[in-house]
């Protein structure tokens, strides 16, 4: 097996160019690649398109700012493709002020669109969103009497994912609900960087228990 380069969070952040579509794992801060997010803020990342479940929890009163929230605050995103922004008033403010373009996607549709990109599918037919605003601008197809929306693949330039453990080849294992969008994003982007808590020798992970095969992972950041 090939050993993958272990890089710093700052080096990971430097892989992103202005205008890139960045897919960020995590769900309301659980399973987010926090060291890399911090490095992206420090690097002054700008004009990115975010693909993420949400924009994190941002609560100034409580001093909480998790997931992509520090990046939102730093105005790193021109566009945000997410399912939920209810826990981040700053995202709502930027949206209402016209400072950023927020596109809401149903969570399951977001998952399938990312998976489709990673799996070489042009898209999927989902019943989710039929009869709602989500229909707008989309093809609607009827199969066996049921209506579906055609939802297209959503690829990215760089994926930042967070895993519990990696072996040096880049096989990843996630912990509990910190798994969420991480494994699918790892399939869908040109460059995939995994922030991990533990780095173990090749052979130390049971091959039946790998969540993300090593071939998807380009770089490893030790959190």
């Amino acid at each position: 097996m090939i050993v993958k380069p272990v890089i710093s969070a700052a080096e990971a952040a430097a892989k992103v160019k202005a205008g890139d579509v960045v897919q960020l794992g995590g769900f309301l801060g659980c399973g987010s690649p926090d060291s890399i997010i911090e490095a992206l803020v420090a690097a002054g990342a700008k004009d990115l398109t975010l693909v993420c479940n949400d924009t994190g929890i941002h609560n100034e009163a409580k001093g909480v700012s998790n997931g992509p929230a520090p990046l939102v605050k730093a105005k790193a995103f021109k566009t945000m493709i997410v399912s939920h922004i209810g826990t981040n008033p700053e995202t709502q403010r930027q949206m209402n002020a016209g400072e950023s373009d927020v596109r809401l996607v149903p969570q399951g549709t977001l998952a399938e669109r990312i998976r489709a990109a990673g799996n070489g599918l042009g898209g999927v037919l989902t019943p989710t969103g039929v009869g709602t605003e989500v229909e707008e601008g989309k093809r609607k197809l009827t199969l066996n009497g049921k209506d579906y929306l055609l939802e297209e693949a959503l690829p990215g330039d760089v994926a930042f994912v967070k895993a519990k453990r990696a072996d040096k080849a880049g096989n990843l294992v996630y912990a509990k609900t910190a798994r969420n969008f991480n494994p699918i994003m790892a399939t869908a982007c040109a460059v995939v960087i995994a922030e991990v808590e533990e780095l173990v020798e090749i052979g130390a992970i049971d091959p039946d228990q790998v969540h993300t095969p090593s071939i998807f992972v380009d770089y490893i950041v030790k959190a």
């Binding site: 998952a111 609900t177 798994r179 991480n182």
Partner: protein
Amino acid sequence: MIEYVENKEIIARRIARFFASGDVVNLGIGLPTMVGNFVPEGVTVVLQSENGMMGLGPAPEKGKEDKDLTNAGGMPVTVLDGGCFFDSAVSFGIIRGGHVDFTVLGVLEVDQEGNLANYKIPGKMVPGMGGAMDLVAGSKKVIAATTHLEKSGSSKLKRRCVLPLTAAHEVDIVVTDVGYFTVKDGKFRLEEYFAPYTPEWIVEHTGADIVVAPGCKEFR
């Protein structure tokens, strides 16, 4: 003269009674989460959380929180023996694929056609749909949980939703703090009423077409 007093507990208590052992249930954030506290003894439901788990357990003791184990609201939870974790594509495969028996969601508006609006008040509040659109489109039974009246006194049950829909024609059951309704033939149908409210009071205070089911009785 019956005075309306908000009572979220009765909503949660009634909803919990729909479940049979083995049912897979997804409880939304807020009021729906309370339903978990009222599942009758002897009934074992499996709670699914759309962020990627099955077998959701109670909140951990203070100090025992696990940063890698939260519910779909981002709050610390626990996992029961026999539970499992999966990614978001699998989670919504379970949901969209009809493997969830009941989903319980909060409401901004629900109407007599079974339409639900709960994710957006244009120009005012746009939290986003999160997993709600998939949950409503995919679950076998959709239960809308809501207080019966707004603070203003107007009915949460409508003839026609005016807010952007979360899903069209998907709501099966509405439980408020005055009674339990099914959605049938373009009408709400009162199946049970909760004292002190009476069917007459409920019909009068519902801003939609409503019928009282022949077997309608008081819930105890």
